[in-house]
Amino acid sequence: MTEILYENWEPVIGLEIHVQLLTRTKLFSSAPNRFGAEPNTLITEVDTGQPGALPTLNKEAIRLATQFGLAIHAEIALVSSFDRKSYFYPDSPRNFQITQFHQPLIRGGTVTCDVEGHTRHFAVHHAHVEDDTGMLKHFSSFAGIDYNRAGAALIEIVSEPVFRTPKEAVAYAMAIRAIMQYLNASDCNMEEGSLRIDANVSVRLKGEKILRPKIEIKNMNSFHNMELALEVEIRRQIRAYSLRPHDPQDDVIGKGTYRFDPAQKETILMRRKEEAQDYRYFPEPDLPPVVLTEQYIEALRAALPELPHQRYLRYIADFKLPPASASLLVSDKFLSDYFEEALAYCSRPTALCNWLISEFSGRLKEKGLTLQQSGLKSSNIGKLVKMIDEGTITGKMAKLVADEMLADPERDSEEIVRNNPAYRPMEDTAALEAIVIQVVKNNPESIADYKTGRTKALGFLVGQVMQKTEGKASPALVNELIIKRMRDEKS
């Protein structure tokens, strides 16, 4: 029984990410670029490859792609051009795709993101613009083709094979998605296919310099599945090499395209690549080169909005958010915009952040809703945190208020509190003092501890009082009363 020493191996992962650009029309035609319409209603002669049709390049697609290139500090080619990539497939209207092979628009570049608390920089090889295919619908005895998507503007981002763990790859992919969202360049919806990730995966022994044969995993439809798929595939390859240490590498890991089965939790071979596809790339004669000026590029650079990593740094510097929380917030533009809106109503960013990414997030998950879908107003969450800050309600009570907010998202959180006296903290100071006296009396060790400088003891005492008041006392007030009592005791 061969023991498999997984730790002797390192994965080598590269990602090819296709992002559908948020343009009104398609890349080479004026057909509307929309999801979900009746089949074959968003087409022109160009998108269906009619004889005599000619492509014309969408200005906005170039602008969005260029902005993306600037966002990743890539080199923007002043001259880029298109090529024909030939292959026969029914979802291709012309049996050649118009892409950028020889002179892509974007070269190099770096994606900066947070991976488990560390800031990492991942190298991009290049990014280019190309047109999307139509969609095949498979039935038992035939297939149907819908060309609505054919011709949609895509940007394909090809990384260097720099990822050494699935988490790195996922962090990079999430960072790409965030950048696209912040640029309003794409809605990056993995379910709808506006963000598609293909991974090239190989493994090698640690210290090995060469690259071993790689396989491709396609159609991973969520970041969670992507991480799983990569983990599973890495282990598969390591096992394969370990069980067949003397066979040629090409035999052990044959080139092929795999898909991930989330139910079986395994990668499954879709097709072998018997021979490299001969795409016969050559310059597209129907489109002149794209020539950009320095002014154009600088104007776009100046117009760049705040990008995810910049926002991440700002949240840490200005709001003192812990890096992990900041990272989580900025990874979704909707969420971080929401956070900033809510911040207008309260003054403790860390608290607000926790309420969003922990308390509310948990409740929403239970209900199967996203924050966007819930209908919860940012102002209401902001006001909830404000009420805690001001001592209007306690943290414990706030949780109950949160539950109510979720049940009735339209309601104003301050109104919820006003209407329910049970949420308000204990106002009877005398009763509270009595409890404080009792707790202090019953815990002389804690007082002794506190007097020797152990401030934790104070927290313990506060906790005891909070227990006795069923969380209705204001912790700040309790704190104050306990300290005062201990001083009084002394004297």
Binding site: E45, T48, G49, Q50, P51, G52, A53, L54, P55, T56, L57, R84, S86, F88, P90, P93, R94, N95, F96, I145, A276, D278, R280, F282, P285, D286, L287, P288
Partner: protein
């Protein structure tokens, strides 16, 4: 019905002849003569009659009439007219109905032209004889046992036999100029990008241009003004404003220099050389000076053209797969067979050959040697002709090395390719070029003189052709077999 377009237009405007009568007479002559020629694949009788009615009405009401009002025009069957069948001379597209108008036919109709039908052609514009149509061959009106040239065979023959005064063709390696020369008509190819390719079924995208056949250079100039404009839908379309060819037609040519690439013409038969020399004498008589120029790189025209043209064509024709339109094979049992059987059944042999050649020169391992090399040679040719044009206003040479041959007489396919030797250069360099009738061989076959200019110097080409035409009578000659009822 021997009127040129501009004369016919005037006769219509003045009320001397109605549009209805023009259309009636046109179709009558077509029905009488076309069975012998095989120029037309389809006729737009209903459409033309309707348009004629509207034109006559407009004239009665003294409304504005376009520059081509009353002029019947035939259209090569690789140029779309929305709603009408476009076959490209191929079985593959037997019942294919165009889903949009080509820019060119739209412009013509906006100027009130009468589109009368679609003309026969070598399949997908591949061929130089008119014998590669999937339907039937076209015959040369000057000698019915001879071919008219191609690929715009029907358009050339229709104008040659005076079935209509103007027709549209397409020229990728000489497919307008060569049949123009062989049928004694004026065949013109504009500067690449001057006329929109939107709606022209593509063969060689960097070589194709829509051209015209007429029997009067003035008509050619008129048409060139109407269709020679920027098109939003064609990204290779030139952005410059339309030019004034008619206004510039009568410019004096005194001291203009004609470049003649003598070394390139070695190998011409003595008869053809003689006809060419005679044509040069006429030009000298107009005050032009002959200067020798070096176009030695043009001897690589055929190789370069066949490599680049086939490469582009192999991808342009990939869309014909039986999936979205066209004839799908009834024998196909699976997807791969839909492709391979539909294409096997739909394409003629010549087309298949060119697709194979094009795929070969682009394929991995060969692309650098063939395609890439051909692009470099193309650049070399462009450089050389630009240099030559600094020494002359226009370049002059025969359109073809040989006159029309017998249908079926070409046994060696390479021989047919070599017919393009003098014409492919203009496509490779994107230059405007025209063939004007310039005499006859001893056996009464038309001879064409080719005039070529620099990019965007279409006016110079037309002016020279016009002057030559006025100094000779060749353009007025009509084929004896079809002259009786003119």
């Amino acid at each position: 019905m021997n009127h040129s377009a501009h004369v016919l237009h005037q006769l219509f405007i003045s009320g001397e002849i109605s549009a209805a009568e023009i259309v009636a007479r046109t179709f009558a002559r077509i029905k009488t003569h076309d069975s012998k020629i095989g120029a037309f694949l389809s006729l737009f009788e209903e459409r033309a009659h309707q348009k004629a009615k509207i034109l006559d009405e407009k004239r009665r009401n003294k409304q504005h009439l376009g520059k081509l009002a009353g002029v019947p025009i035939a259209v090569k069957d690789n140029i779309h007219v929305h709603g009408e069948i476009t076959t490209c001379g191929s079985k593959f597209l037997t019942n294919y109905r165009a889903v949009f108008d080509s820019t060119v036919t739209r412009l013509l109709e906006e100027e009130d032209a009468l589109l009368i039908g679609k003309t026969n052609m070598d399949e997908f514009a591949m061929g130089g004889s008119g014998t590669h149509s999937a339907f039937f061959p076209t015959h040369n009106p000057w000698n019915l046992s001879c071919y008219p040239g191609g690929s715009s065979s029907g358009s050339a023959a229709a104008v040659s036999a005076r079935l209509c005064p103007v027709s549209l063709g397409s020229d990728t390696g000489g497919s307008v100029r060569q049949p123009g020369a062989l049928t004694g008509t004026v065949g013109f190819k504009p500067t690449y990008g001057r006329v929109s390719r939107y709606g022209l079924v593509a063969f060689g995208s960097s070589l194709d241009q829509i051209g015209t056949f007429t029997y009067s250079v003035k008509d050619t100039a008129l048409l060139a003004e109407v269709v020679g404009r920027h098109c939003e839908k064609d990204a290779t379309s030139i952005s410059l404003p339309p030019q004034h060819y008619l206004r510039d037609l009568e410019r004096p040519l005194l001291e203009w220099k004609i470049g003649v690439p003598w070394s390139f013409l070695e190998g011409l038969s003595s008869e053809m050389r003689h006809l060419f020399d005679e044509a040069l004498k006429v030009l000298e008589g107009l005050g032009m000076q002959i200067v020798p120029i070096d176009l030695s790189s043009f001897k690589h025209s055929i190789s370069t053209y066949y490599i680049l043209g086939s490469a582009e064509a192999s991808t342009n024709l990939a869309r014909f797969d039986g999936i979205r339109y066209g004839q799908r094979s009834k024998r196909a049992n699976n997807l791969e067979e839909v492709y391979s059987l539909s294409r096997a059944e739909g394409f003629g042999f010549e087309v298949k050959k060119r697709i194979m050649l094009g795929t070969f020169v682009l394929s991995s391992g060969y692309q650098d040697a063939y395609y890439h090399k051909a692009q470099q040679v193309r650049a070399l040719m462009i450089r050389q002709v630009r240099e030559a044009l600094t020494q002359c206003n226009v370049i002059v040479l025969p359109t073809t090395a040989t006159p029309a041959g017998i249908i079926g007489g070409i046994s060696d396919p390479l021989e047919e390719y070599l017919q393009d030797l003098y014409t492919t250069g203009a496509n490779l360099a994107g230059l405007p070029a025209i063939s004007v009738p310039a005499g006859f061989t001893h056996d009464k076959k038309p001879f064409g003189l080719q005039i070529m200019g620099g990019q965007m110097r279409d006016a110079d080409v037309l002016t020279t052709a016009h002057a030559y035409e006025k100094a000779t009578t060749f353009t007025q000659a009509t084929p004896p077999l079809f002259s009786g009822d003119l």
